[in-house]
Structure formats: C-alpha cells, structure tokens
C-alpha cells in the first residue's frame, strides 16, 4: 500500500509538472476551419519563424462561427486563421474584432483586407466538383459539366454534398446559386438536387475524400480539397461547372480582448510576409499577395460573388434550409 501510494504520488507529480511545463508563455490560441494537415504545417512554420506557439482547434466554418457567437464576449481563442469572408463582415459589424495595422500586408491589395485592419484576407478558394471518373465509367454515367447536369436522374444517390448547417463550403455553394439564379430558382434547384444526393457530410472537405475513396462518384466541395487528393494519387478529377463557381476570401483576425494580443499580432504579421504567403500558396489555389503563385494552373470560372450579400442573408437562408432539408 505504501509503495503504491508512492507510485501514484510520483506519477501524479510528473504529470502535473509536465502539464504545466508544456504550455509556454508565448502561446496563441486559435480557431480555424483549415484542414488539420495544412494548419499543422502553418503552425510549425510560425513557431520556427516567430517563436510563437499555436494551440489550434479545428472546426467546420459554421461550427466555428456558432461557437464564437455563443462564447462572445469571452471567446476561448485569441485569433482566427482560416474563416469565411462573410463571417468576418458579421464579426466586424458586431464589434468582435481587434483592429491591428500590420506592415507586412502593405502590398496586398486593399480589396483583400479591412481598411482598419480588423481582418486580413490571405487566400481565396472556390467551389468545385470532385469527380471519380473510374467510378463514372464503371457505373456507365456521363461526366457532368455543369450544375444543371447534376440534376440528371442518372446520378441518383451518387452525389455527396456537405451540409450548409455545418460547412462553409456548402454555404458558399448555396449562396452562389442564390446570387446566380435568384432565390426561388435556387431553392427549386436544391430541391431537385436533393433527389440525387446520397449523403450530406458534415465537413466541406469530406466530399472530396469520399469521392476519392469511391464511396460516391461526385462530390461538391472546394478546390484545394480536390487538388490535395489528386496529389495523393487518388483517381479523381476536378470539374468547374460551366455556370461558374463562387469564391470566398479566406481571412484571419484577432479577437477583442485576446489574452495574448502581441503573439496574435506576430502571427498576423507572419501571414502577410512573403514566406507566409509562399507557404500558404503550397496549400491554396490563390493567395492574396501579388506575385505569389498558388497551386492552380488554369483560369477557374469565378462568378462575381457578393460576400456582403451572403453575410446579410446568411441567417435567413440557413433557417430556410433547415426547414426544408433537415
């Protein structure tokens, strides 16, 4: 018994010591919707360059927003790196953000950042469709070329779409349709598409992965999720629908009353540097710094997406979505 007590006390103290030791002073806490893989690479680059250690929690965009909104004004994170532009606009409106003027962002065009430095757009991404051609052949289906094609009954049960209730990718898709077709037409489209959807996934990247693994032939997702899988050797292809796709600026910001404001500022600075942008460009189709080339080598057919409209109408659209499809 005595021995055992010693063992336990010993173990406990080792654990306590290491628990306290592991979190240094120069740590910034962060929410993100970036995929784990790229975020880990970003985090280690930041640590190497600035000595700032990043503790990150990854969620789907809508989940992250819902969390921020419910925690505000005591948000459990110092900053955000990787979020929808629309949410930055809402957050700015609700006075959640801490302005910071970062010098490294000087040569980034004004359209990609807030004039007061409340948020910074570091890259942009767009909707795209992942297609498993092997599977299409096997099932004897035609390759779709447009959003309209996806309504063809031949694809019944073969499409995977993220749930706009959790995924920013899906919200971009839905609000793109609304802006292009008009709301009523867009709802009709979604209604019809619902017949062909085999599954609604929680995360916006999941459809690319599921299409890659051959679970579904067609996945509505975003560009980089597809490029990553293609690079890993999965038998999929990217399809940009003829009607065009919506794109969204991916932003970073600092929350008001962040515990470690200084470290968060260092991270914002880092993102704006050439190194930061070049690193981001390894994972994203397009970054916002002129002259830094992203991963894309063709001209995607982007529509003139209105993020302000999306921010203003998001709640209403989401509620209607839930009533119709949940």
């Amino acid at each position: 018994m005595e021995k055992m007590k010693k063992w336990i006390v010993g173990l406990a103290s080792v654990l306590v010591l290491s628990a306290c030791g592991s979190s240094g002073d120069n740590t910034v806490t962060m929410y993100t919707h970036n995929d784990e893989e790229e975020m880990q690479s970003f985090a280690s680059a930041v640590e190497e360059e600035t000595g700032v250690n990043i503790d990150v929690l990854r969620m789907s965009s809508e989940e992250a927003w819902s969390r921020i909104d419910s925690e505000y004004p005591d948000v459990n994170a110092d900053m955000m790196w990787g979020m929808l532009h629309s949410f930055a606009l809402v957050a700015e409106e609700e006075d959640m953000l801490e302005p910071y003027e970062s010098d490294t962002w000087d040569d980034v065009p004004d359209e990609f950042k807030d004039p007061d430095g409340q948020w910074y757009g570091w890259s942009y991404w767009f909707n795209a469709v992942a297609i498993n051609e092997d599977l299409l052949d096997e099932l004897g289906l035609d390759r779709p070329e447009s959003w309209e094609d996806l309504l063809d009954p031949q694809y019944e049960g073969e499409i995977v779409l993220p749930d706009p209730g959790t995924s920013g990718t899906a919200f971009l898709f839905v609000s793109t349709l609304m802006q292009e077709m008009g709301e009523d037409e867009a709802w009709d489209y979604l209604d019809e598409l619902d017949n062909n959807v085999g599954q609604y996934s929680q995360s916006g990247s999941a459809p690319a992965q599921m299409t890659s693994q051959g679970e579904y032939a067609i996945g509505i997702t975003w560009d980089q999720a597809i490029f990553d899988r293609m690079e890993e050797g999965y038998p999929i292809d990217i399809m940009i629908p003829e009607e065009g796709v919506g794109f969204d600026l991916d932003v970073a910001w600092i929350f008001q009353d962040a515990d470690n404001q200084e470290a968060a500022e260092e991270v914002i600075d880092f993102i704006g540097t050439d190194e930061g942008m070049e690193l981001a460009a390894e994972y994203r189709s397009m970054v916002t710094k002129p002259d830094v080339e992203g991963t894309i080598d063709f001209e995607p057919n982007l529509i003139d997406y209105d993020a302000v409209w999306a921010a203003e109408n998001r709640e209403r659209i989401m509620n209607e979505w839930q009533e119709k499809f949940d």
């Binding site: 021995k3 806490t29 929410y31 985090a43 929690l57 419910s70 992965q209």
Partner: protein
C-alpha cells in the same frame, strides 16, 4: 455472514455522531455531485422550456412533435438501441457460456478479444466498417461482383452494426462474471435429475444469470440510445437523437432545441436507472463459487463456439482494418506501406492531454467514490441516499446531455470554465464516480466491522483507523474504479467534445474530427496510438499492482 454484519453494525448505528472530518467530506462531495452532475442535467431540463432565453414556453416541445425529423431521430435512436441490444445479448450469452465453460488457450484468447473494443474509441468500428462495407468497400465489391447486389453500410444498419461491436464488451463482461460465479452444483443437480444440457441451460443457467442479463441489456440499451459518434460517421445523414443534439448546438447554436432532444435522451436513461437501482437490486441471486464451472456437452459447445468464433473474428478483423489503414497510403486504393499518417504533430499533443486529463479524472473519481462508499456503508452521514443516487445516476446520463449541461452552466460568467483542463477532468470524473462508489460499498460490505472496531479499541482515532485500516483494504476497489475511469475517459467523446478548446483538445474528439474530414488513414493512425497507449497504461497499472502486492 450477513447476520453477523447486521449484529455488529448496530452499535455503530447507535453511535449516530459522525466525526467532523467525515461530515465535512460528505458535504463537500454532495456539493460537487450537485455542481457537476445534477445541476447540468437540471440546466438542460430548464433550457428545454426556454427558461433563460426569455420565459417559459412549450414551443420547443411543440416543434419536436411537429417536425418529422426530430421524431425520426427519436425513433431511429430507440430502434437502433433496441436492435443492437437484442443482438448483443444473443451473442454475449453463448460467448460467455463458451468462455466460462471451457478452459483452453483459445477460450482465454476469446475472453481477451471480447473485451478489446473497450480500449478503442467507440466510433472506430464505423471507420473500419466503411473500409470493408462502404459503397465501394473491399467486401462490398466482392458481393457486388458475385451477386450484383450493391450494398451500402451508411444509415441505420451501419449504426446498428457499429453499436454491436462497440457495446458488446459491456454486456459480455457482466454476463460472464455472473456465469463465472455461478454455483456449478445447481447445474450438476439438474443434470443428475435427468435434464439434458440444453434444458439445463434454459431452465437453470439462464435464469440464474437472468438478473445479470437483464442488467446488461438495459445498460447496453441506454448506451446505444446515447450513441453519438457512430451516427455521425456512418449514419449517412439519418437523424439520431444524440448526434442531432450535437449538431443543433455546434452548427446552429440552438441550445433550446438541443435541450429538448437531451430531455428525450435522459428520460429513458433515467427510467432504466430507477428500474435497475430500485427494482432489480433486490433480485440479485446469491452466488457462490464452488469449484470449476460445468463443462459443456460437445454439441452445445460446438454451437456456442461457433457464435463466439464469428464474433471474435469480426472484432479482430475490425482492429486489423484499423491497423492496416494506419500503415498504408490509402487502404484499398494504394496499399503501399507508409508511416506518413503518424507524422501528426498536434495529434501527439492531444494524446498527451488525454492521458493527463484521464489520469486525474480517474484519481478523483476513484478517490472520492471510495471515500463516499466508505461513508455510505459505515457512517451515519446525512443525505446518504441522495448522494448515492446522484453518483450512480451520473453513470446513466448520456454524455451529450452532460456536455450540453456543462456548456449551459460553465460557459461564460460567472465561471468561465469551458475550455479548461479542470472542467474536462471534473466532467470525466463525475460521470464515472459511481463506479468507485459501488466498488467501495460492495468492498465495505464484504469487510467485517470487527477490524475497524479492533483498531479503535486499540486506541486509534476514526481518521487513523480510516487511513491505516480501511484505506489499505479498499485499495482493490480503488484500483477497479481508477482503471475503469481511466480507460473510458481516454476514449470518450460525447461529452468533452463540447468542452475542448485550443490547447485543451483531446485525442478522441480529434480522431472524430479527422474521421469527419474523411481522413481515414490519419484517423486510424491516431486510433492505433490511442489503443496502444491505453493498453500500455493498463499494463503499467498491472505492474504497479504486482509490485505493491495489491490486486484488482
């Protein structure tokens, strides 16, 4: 024995005065039980009526009944729980019969395999099932090639199968221990009187194990009902109560509606809990160990062996799938060996967090549970029934409900506790404190009061007696509570997923997040490490236990 305890416990009862220290401990534990078990559940209940968000209303209940998808969630959860439970029992009974009634190397191996799912996060079976039976899974392809039938594991039946694999060990453990402790002379008597083996099993063995089987069934049902992660991964968008409640909170921040779903999750658990604690308790069949269990008739044995083998193989295949997909590029598509999935820097940090949180939760749950058990069994402390009830009820509350309750109470002013390691520890500890308590009470009932009396006659004060006499004797109960809490905390997700934050993320929710991004290889790699760590920790505990000469 029971008469003896009865007699000797009388003087203690007369001595109604309880030492100040134990009284303080009682109030302390009661306050903690209230804060970390009762209050969160009450908060969910209150929230479901919209109180706290502008007055009392039945609106959310009305919405629950008017919206078919919520009702569908209730139906799916109950139906999946019922089907899983029945199938688990149909497998667990022969499995336990086989394992307890044969003494070969194989049966011992089966015993271990039967418990294996306990050390894995409950949703990894969903992942493995998708690899095998997904729309283009390995097995699905064969089936499609040979029969032309396309199968899809997504949806209701996928959830059921994942639940069967995940919750099997719980039922199996309970049924096995009851069959192991059964007096074999009863079966002998039956057979000596001319009943065949089948008849003996039906008329003697199963009725004797009846309470254990019923209990196991109820517990598995409650767990399956509260299952949150399998519907998320393999449910294919079908509605289930716990996962819908989770999505309502995280995706839509609709705490009121989530609370209503929570109430429908808690109610069945609560009823089962009441039934089990107050009705089944008195029907416990006295069992004694009297030599080895009765061996089985070859024909019966073959049948039992067959069922057990299928189940054991199924479990092993699932684990093999997880290990394989952890070590190859993309299982089924590019089977090249790789260690890429293990180069996950943040994952290792989260594993470490999990170990720390689970360790302290286990320490707290076992320590407080045992102390409370001792006081419940021996001291005339106030609120005995209430505190015991609360601690045990903590075991039955669905994790999702606890999580939502914690968010409601501890998020923001005045506590600001969400996202802290402290709250994670408290959550895990108080969900499991009932195990330590039960172990403590049952151990105290086995111990004769005379030991403590002797100590006090020899001049020891009550605290000294507790420290030097009772505490050492309770060590095995402590270890049991500790091991169980540690193991379950390492792999639990449903509650802590609401409470993690940057810097306090844990391994199991992280793996769920990976699975949610459909990153099967990395999710498998992390699961693999998690399983190895849990097994290693158990090994370490066994070692400590052997070194210090105590037994679990």
């Amino acid at each position: 024995m029971s008469e003896l305890t009865e007699q000797t416990s009388v003087p203690i009862k007369k001595k109604a005065k309880v030492e100040k220290g134990f009284l303080a401990a009682t109030w302390g534990i009661a306050a903690l039980l209230f804060a970390f078990i009762l209050a969160p559940v009450l908060a969910v209940f209150v929230q479901s009526f919209g109180i706290g968000n502008g007055g009392f209303t039945f609106e959310y209940y009305a919405r629950f009944f008017s919206n078919p998808s919520y009702f569908q969630a209730l139906f799916n959860s109950v139906a999946a729980g019922t089907v899983s439970t029945l199938i688990i029992l149909m497998i667990a009974i022969p499995f336990a019969l086989y394992v307890t009634r044969s003494n070969t190397y194989l049966s011992k191996t089966y015993r271990g395999i039967g418990l294996l799912p306990l050390v894995a996060p409950p949703f990894i079976f969903s992942l493995a099932l998708i690899i095998l039976f997904g729309r283009r899974g390995v097995v699905s392809q064969w089936i499609a090639d040979f029969t032309g039938i396309e199968i899809s594991i997504y949806g209701f039946w996928g959830v059921v199968i994942a639940q069967i694999l995940g919750y099997f060990p719980i039922a199996y453990m309970m049924i096995e221990s009851s069959m192991r402790n059964m007096n074999p002379s009863l079966e002998h008597a039956s057979q000596d009187l001319g009943a065949g083996q089948g008849r003996t099993i039906r008329k003697v063995t199963l009725p004797l194990a009846g309470t254990a089987i019923l209990k196991a069934g109820l517990i598995v049902f409650v767990m399956a009902l509260a299952d949150f992660s399998n519907p998320l991964i393999i449910g294919g968008g079908e509605n289930f109560l716990a996962s819908d409640a989770f999505l309502l909170v995280t995706g839509q921040q609709n705490l009121e509606m989530a609370a209503v779903l929570g109430v429908f999750l808690v109610l069945p658990s609560f009823l089962v809990f009441l039934f089990q604690t107050y009705i089944l308790k008195d029907h416990e069949v006295a069992t004694t160990t009297g030599g080895a269990n009765n061996p089985l008739h070859p024909k019966v044995k073959a049948a039992m062996f067959g069922v057990s083998t299928v189940m054991a193989l199924f479990i092993v295949v699932m684990f093999v799938m997880v290990v394989m997909s952890a070590f190859v590029q993309i299982i089924g598509i590019n089977n090249e060996l790789t260690l890429d999935h293990f180069s996950d820097t943040s994952g290792w940090g989260f594993l470490w967090n999990s170990v720390i949180v689970s360790f302290f939760a286990a320490l707290l749950a076992a320590g407080l549970g045992i102390l409370q058990g001792y006081m419940t069994a021996r001291k005339n402390v106030p609120m005995k029934k209430l505190t015991e009830f609360t601690a045990l009820f903590g075991l039955a509350i669905p994790g999702t409900v606890m999580g939502i309750g914690y968010v409601l109470i501890f998020n923001g002013a005045p506590f600001f506790l969400t996202g802290t390691i402290f709250l994670l520890v408290m959550n895990m500890a108080f969900r499991k404190i009932g195990v330590g308590l039960e172990a403590g009470i049952s151990k105290m009932q086995q111990l004769d009061v005379s030991l403590e009396e002797a100590s006090s006659d020899l001049g020891s004060g009550p605290y000294h007696t507790f420290r030097r006499v009772v505490a050492p004797l309770l060590t095995p109960a402590f270890m049991a509570g500790f091991v169980y809490t540690f193991m379950t905390s390492m792999v639990s997700v449903s509650s802590v997923i609401f409470l993690i934050s940057p810097g306090t993320n844990l391994a199991a929710p992280y793996i769920l997040n990976l699975a949610d991004q459909a990153a099967v290889g990395r999710a498998s790699a992390m699961s693999f490490i998690l399983i190895v760590i849990v097994l290693a920790c158990m090994g370490l505990l066994k070692l400590i236990e052997r070194r210090s000469g105590t037994s679990v």
